[in-house]
């Protein structure tokens, strides 16, 4: 059966649209949550009303963001069932468990404590209220944990066994799934890097108040907390990002090669600091990879293997196969051959089972198990299909890293000037902070583009490519729902922005007598 390429592209575009839209709200929830909880903790500790007032203002913006963002992730679940039914069936048992836990525990935890956070200021003790605020933040973070565990499994499938009788990958080790190094690292990197978005938001909006010469004490206090949280968040993200790069090198070497535009690998490979890719460059040609590049010597080898002299495979090496540092990796053509054997064995197993031929079924199952590791490669027509969109991954990675570096410097500078009581008079720097808010979102989205586009062409690494995961439906229906979502999500986004801007303009003074 041939799959319509436009069906795959539209299904992917729709998923990307809804996932990226969902990700506008999540990092602000995670980042702003920590900042407002710290502010309330200061109120609890010092008893100063200014911290209560400050925390309440940011809580209101947290509430607006939470309300508009809530349930936008459910759209993704709809798409799994409609557009990606082969995938949904194939992974149902593994995806189901973490998502169910997310729904039951984390959602209800958030729903309960968020009510106390907003309605309980005069109804519960200071300590109970503070605990509720932290538990709201904790609940949101735990929500992210389960989603990220499911996502990490797609990057590095562990803790399961394929059952050809049910056509499903069945979980046989819950803890391998939950404690997968990819999952844990992805969780810490994603959650902590979200502090950058929350901090940039608070610093930017506070700067707006300073530009408008309003609420000076509130703004400067907010800047103080946000720059500290942002700086710590970025420093921890650098640490977890380094570990993430190491994990990618071990588990998804093609993604790493795409991130670096590395076509021909080798020993002691440098990391590209900045570079412009040759747009004509393709796998296994002799063209130059870069029109311009600046490399940091040996750093990629160290990042990948913790050894400055180690071997890092490039795109061509992965396609053609290689032997280095006591490791032999077979070519993609050989993997495709094994994948086709696995698919044929699955077909033979099914026929034998229906014919009640137990011997033939056992033989086919043995062949399937022996080649299952390469199952997904059997769907490719040429080895080059395993290469993701190199320019998109390469540039997105640099956008993420460079902007994160920019914010680190910005937060440190703003903190220093604020500490010396000079920031309040630096209108130009306040404008820089305000105009930098969109850059924080770009940083966060770029990180996801690296993770998800870099995983292509796989839905599940090595096991199921997108071409096999997609449903047998018409591209036209996916195109229609794409534009419905585009319209709906744009309308929701405009609604959020207008409510958010209105609340910001009202300022913290509006909170003084509010119960919300």
């Amino acid at each position: 059966m041939n799959v319509d390429v436009s069906l795959i592209d539209w299904s992917r575009a729709q998923f990307a649209l809804t996932a990226m839209y969902h990700w506008i709200f999540v990092p602000l929830t995670l980042g702003l949550g920590v900042i407002m909880a710290i502010m309330e903790s200061l109120y609890y500790k010092t008893g100063k009303d200014k911290w209560k007032r400050t925390a309440k203002f940011w809580m209101k913006l947290f509430g607006v963001n939470f309300a508009i963002g809530v349930a936008t992730g459910i759209i993704l679940e709809f798409e799994f069932g409609t557009n990606w039914s082969n995938y949904s069936w194939f992974v149902g048992d593994i995806f189901g468990a973490p998502l169910a836990i997310e729904g039951i525990i984390a959602f209800f935890m958030e729903a309960t404590f968020i009510a106390v956070m907003f309605f309980g200021w005069k109804k519960v003790s200071k300590g109970f209220h503070l605990a509720s605020t932290w538990l709201t933040v904790f609940g949101a973070t735990i929500s992210a944990l389960w989603i990220l565990i499911a996502n990490a499994w797609m990057q590095y499938p562990v803790g399961m066994e394929f059952n050809p009788d049910t056509m499903r990958n069945e979980m046989n080790d819950f803890w391998a799934l939950v404690l997968s190094p990819v999952a844990l690292n992805k969780f810490f990197h994603t959650v902590i890097s979200s502090w950058l978005v929350g901090s940039a938001f608070v610093v930017g909006i506070s700067s707006w108040f300073l530009i408008k010469k309003r609420e000076k004490e509130f703004a400067l206090d907010s800047v103080k907390i946000a720059t500290i949280v942002g700086t710590i968040g970025i420093l921890l993200s650098i640490y977890s990002g380094d570990e993430s790069g190491h994990q990618v090198a071990q588990k998804q070497p093609m993604k790493l090669a795409a991130m670096e535009g590395l076509y021909d690998g080798g020993h002691s490979v440098g990391l590209v600091g900045i570079g412009i890719l040759n747009p004509q460059k393709e796998a296994n040609d002799n063209k130059e990879t870069f029109l311009f590049d600046v490399k940091i010597p040996q750093l990629l080898s160290f990042l990948a293997n913790r050894d400055f002299n180690s071997y890092v495979p490039g795109i061509n090496d992965i396609i053609n196969g290689y032997t280095a540092d006591n490791t032999t990796e077979i070519s993609v053509a050989e993997k495709m051959n094994k994948g086709k054997q696995a698919i044929a064995a699955l077909s033979d197993y099914s026929k034998a089972r229906k014919a009640k031929d137990t011997l033939a079924a056992a033989e086919a199952k043995e062949r399937l198990d022996a080649n299952y590791k390469y199952f997904g490669y059997g769907y490719f027509k040429s080895p080059e299909e395993v290469v993701p969109n190199v320019p998109l991954v390469f540039y997105s990675f640099r956008v993420m890293v460079i902007l994160a570096g920019y914010f680190l410097i910005l937060f440190i500078i703003v903190w220093l000037f604020n500490h010396k009581k000079r920031f309040e008079n630096m209108t130009w720097l306040q404008w820089v902070c305000l105009l930098s808010i969109p850059l924080a979102y770009i940083t966060s989205q770029a990180g996801w583009i690296v993770a998800e586009v870099g995983r292509q062409p796989w839905t599940i690494q090595d096991i199921l490519p997108v071409s096999a995961a997609v449903s047998d439906i018409s591209a036209g229906s996916v195109k229609t729902t794409f534009f419905i979502f585009l319209f709906l999500l744009t309308a929701l986004f405009i609604a959020e922005l207008s409510i958010m801007i209105k609340q910001i303009k009202l300022g913290p003074g509006a909170e003084d007598n509010s119960h919300e």
Partner: protein, 72 residues
């Protein structure tokens, strides 16, 4: 200030909180409208579960997916 002493007070907190909402009312309206569009329109008319809409039993779904994956 009346503190929560019982479960009834706890639910009263919700009632009082919802009553005194300002911007929250608009947000709840948006949430409810959003959920209605998602579940009553999009899910029903545009996003039926592909396998559930075609097959009744897990065995039938399994056979179909097997056919899809081995025939591609």
């Amino acid at each position: 200030m009346e503190r929560i002493k019982s479960l009834k007070d706890f639910f009263q907190m919700y009632i009082d909180g919802f009553r005194s909402m300002t911007v929250g009312k608009t947000l709840w309206l948006i949430i409810l409208l959003k959920l209605f569009i998602m579940f009553a329109i999009l899910k029903v008319f545009f996003f039926p579960n592909f396998l559930n809409s075609k097959f009744d039993t897990d065995q039938q779904k399994s056979n179909f997916v097997e056919q899809q994956l081995t025939g591609k």
